[in-house]
Amino acid sequence: MSGEGQIRRLAQGGMIDRAAPLTFRFNGRAFEGFAGDTLASALIANGVDVVARSFKLHRPRGVMTDGPEEPNAIVTVGEGPDRTPNLKATEVPLTQGLVATSQNCWPSVNHDFGAVTGLMSPLLGAGFYYKTFMAPQGAWTIYENLIRRAAGLGRATEGLDPDTYEHRHAQCDVLIIGAGPAGLAAAQRLAGSGLRIMLCDERSSPGGALQATGETIGGEPGALWARTVAQSLDSSGDTTVLQNATAVWLADHRLVTIAQRLEGDSPVAQRLWFVRARHIIVATGAIERPLCFSGNDRPGVMLSSAVGAYRHRYGVAVGARAVVHANNDSGYNCLAELEAAGIDVATVVDLRPDARIGEAARVLADTIPIHADSHVMATSGRKRLQRVEVGSNADTVAQRSFDADLLCVAGGWSPTVHLLAHRGTPAQFDPDAAAFLAQPSEDHLDLAGSAAGHMELAACLESGWQAAGNALASLGHDATYRTFDQSVVSGQLPPGNLAGPWCSAQGVRKRRKAFVDLQNDVTAADLESAIAEGYDAVEHLKRYTTNGMGTDQGKLSNVLAIGIVAEITGRPIAEIGHTTFRPPYTPVTFGALTGPHTGSNLLVTRRTPFHDLHLAAGAVMEPAGAWLYPKCYPREGETIDAAIRREVLSVRGSVGVVDMATLGKFELHGPDVGEFLDRVYANRLSTLAVGRCRYAVMLREDGVVFDDGTVTRMADDIWHVTATTSHAGSVYRHLTRLLQVEWPELEVCLIDVSEQWAGLAIAGPRARDVLAGVVSDVATEPDALPFMGFRKGRAGRHDARIYRISFSGELAYEVFVPAHVAADLWHAVMEAGTPFDICAYGYEALDVMRIEKSHVADGEIDGRNVPGDLGLGRMAKRDRPFLGSALLQHYGEQRKRQPALIGLTALDGITRIPGGAVLIDRNAGGRKPIGHVTATIISPTLGKPIAMAVLDCDSHRTSQCLCAVSPAAGLEVDVAVTAMPFFDPAGDRMRA
């Protein structure tokens, strides 16, 4: 497993800070590394070969890459509530005290019982999920438990996430995604133009691929050039540079979502940016592809570019003795890196015939023997590569075998076009480039560098320069052409002359070990059998085999699979195409997506002006839509139910007070308001006298009841309209739309006054006495302020509006004062009510009382009922059309039966009728539902259970054997139809 100390750390070099050693633990063992390491580089430095076990077959795996394309090294980092599973070790920055463990293995990564699944691999081919565990039917629950235990990668923590996350909206003129050579060249050209520039990069420092190679610009190492350019951008003031920031989603109208990981000492763990740019340059580089051959997944098989990456970035030698396997010239770039790292190279195995190998590549090979027209036929070494067997492409048996613990694979390069593909336009396969290239199909969107298919450094720099020029021109700035001096650039070989089979393994046995998707253990044999079963369209193939569906999202396996499909089917790649790319580009943690909207900030919450007073009075506050509203005010030792009972009896017995602030309230001014209201409501309103209120029902365009409320005429041309709490917003939109869009000729001014008026309803037989003690400048006697009347007056020092309307069915007055002086009203009411034992009541008591009076509310206005269904049919005007009238008649004709709102009592007089219960008629036999319960209580006033219900058909109301059935509660209660309102049917109390 691991040696002692950092056996693979080179004596010099790397961008690590050798003056800052760190200690960390992996699978319980302590190791050392340096600041600037990733977990992967530190593990490699310490000689740790096996880092994880593969998902399906539990094969030992090692680190393969240095980036987000890593398919193998998936680990869990942290403990307790900090535990985060499924992180790629190549993306985890090493920190002091870091604790990480392997996943998907037991008892340990080196001795994994799960490895036995590997022996079953012939049975676990493509689509086995769809063919197994089918029978016997009843055994599924057993299978499910087994599968749950075996499935999945890491295990999530169950505690609350202790980290803080932020969101940030930002705007800029040009956003450059990627601070590699192309992105930096673009930023350099744009600096000083006066435009707002943002530059984001997924790594912790700028440079991109320049950090991983020995390329030079202007005679100095590329990484140093990058640092210099970035520093000058930072100090220029108009360029914002974000590191550790991955652009994960390119959305409509150039909105880019960027996930930024913040450094250890920051109080915020991650920040999700939403950047709106006027122009975007995508300079996201390219990712090297592996090769598909038998035995290509052992620890020690790595991308050829990873050799230089680990040497230059971390000062680590990734092996001791190497074989290089390539299908293109860029595979030869790693030879110099291997030599500089002190790694012996046995041979280069080139898939291509001699004649195809470029001269420049041969020069790089120097004295190292090249086996042309050959491929790796097999590898051996369970916990680390030990031998590589090589044979010519014409043969089926290996002829040579080499000692090697490192196999550098070079299968070509795929431009990182994902963000553009998010826009929906698929990338096209270019056979010359042997890559999928994207063409931006929108304005103000550009590709630059390797992402655009430029594989030489000089061309990358030039293309970044050009992209910046295009940005300047498209934003109306001077874009005088200046070429980038290419003579000062010394770059690596591009992936020229690419040729050879996509999968070199021959025969089923070999193809079963030729991995395409390393994370999900999908092999060439799996692709073959899926195609044989008819799944040859890429979208089907992906889902049937799970190729490309791991946390690496197919960054190494997608194109490889498409190439193999082309080989198997004989169709050209361009015709096969690629699967749909969907955001995010790399996984984003849920915490970042949630941002600050968590815990008590999960939802926007609204508070009434009386909120603190409710709390002081002992209210239990509950969410009612977006509002926090008092449920009830339990006294010392009182249960909730007892509190609600007490509140109802207090109101009906003497007087109570409730908060009315959540209703929607609108003022309408102008000469045409009466006409407008007649059009918008089912009832007649234009005849309402000044100082009077009227209950009104508003319909949808299709005749269904939309909302109800109270209309008040405050003056000739000044009206006031209420809407229910839950519909306040939609009613406002409805009314403004009618006034602004449909009927702009009406002279009506609509103003939302919901916020500025705070109101309390004083209800009960003693309500008038209390009112008299609260308001002044207004007569409160019954003839002066009749039922459904409105007056203006004063409450203390403040203007007040007084409405005599009742939802509870008691004598009631609603008093409104300006919201910022709400407390004065509360105290005045409580003081005036003390001689009458006034009590505050909440929405539960309010609901109990409105049910006792059978007033309709949300349960009845459920978007399915027309006024007639709710007993409100006679309200609708007959002599003129209104919104919904055209279809009301039609709706009635269309329906076979007329529903009816009815009242119910429980036959035994005791049992509460279950909420949401379905009504059946025992006489009719069977259990066909004929209605449902909309509201149910045990009435404190009547001392018995009552409920409101909607019958599907009015004729059922004469049934003698109705029963309310609740399968969810397991209850059946026999009920009888009874007249509504249940209490004070004549409405005498509220008219007192």
């Binding site: 803080t164 709106r276 926007v604 609204r606 508070r607 916020e755 919201a819 910022h820």
Partner: protein, 153 residues
């Protein structure tokens, strides 16, 4: 360090159906240049919230100086709002945590928008200095959302 301070005792009136031609003025102040603009003097601000609709804000709570006939409809709105001053280095970034509105180069603007779903009117009052008019019922929820960010600032 960013500070959040509440201004109380102000009055707010909504004027609907105003004519804002260049020659006229409102109680000694020039009309704002258009919707989304504001004009300020020492205590008062006129915020143009929509076509023909403005909010007159008087932080001194002074007497009603809007004469009759200026607007078709005048509605008292002091109770509908709470007013806060946010200032300190990084205040734009702080507002950017919640609101998608672009505050760049917005002198004399009044930006009616939302901050994390809370309706607000943002008034830039100088470099790193912003007034927030927050709809009353949403104010506590918005303060709770701002609190962690303020503690880090």
């Amino acid at each position: 360090m960013i500070t959040l301070q509440e201004t109380t005792g102000f009055t707010a009136q909504r004027l609907v159906g105003v004519a804002t031609d260049k020659d006229s003025e409102l109680a000694g102040m020039a009309w704002p240049d258009g919707v989304g603009m504001a004009s300020h003097d020492i205590d008062r601000s006129i915020l143009m919230l929509g076509p023909g609709t403005c909010l007159v804000l008087d932080r001194s709570g002074g007497p009603d100086r809007v004469g009759a006939g200026v607007a078709k409809v005048t509605v008292e709105e002091s109770g509908a709002w709470r007013l806060f001053m946010l200032e300190g280095e990084g205040t734009s970034d702080l507002i950017g945590q919640l609101s998608p509105a672009d505050l760049h180069g917005t002198v004399d603007a009044c930006i009616a928008t939302h901050a994390g779903g809370h309706p607000v009117i943002i008034l830039p009052r100088g470099a790193d200095r912003f007034e927030l008019l927050v709809v009353r019922s949403y104010a506590e929820s918005l303060l709770a959302l701002l609190a962690p960010a303020l503690s880090h600032a």
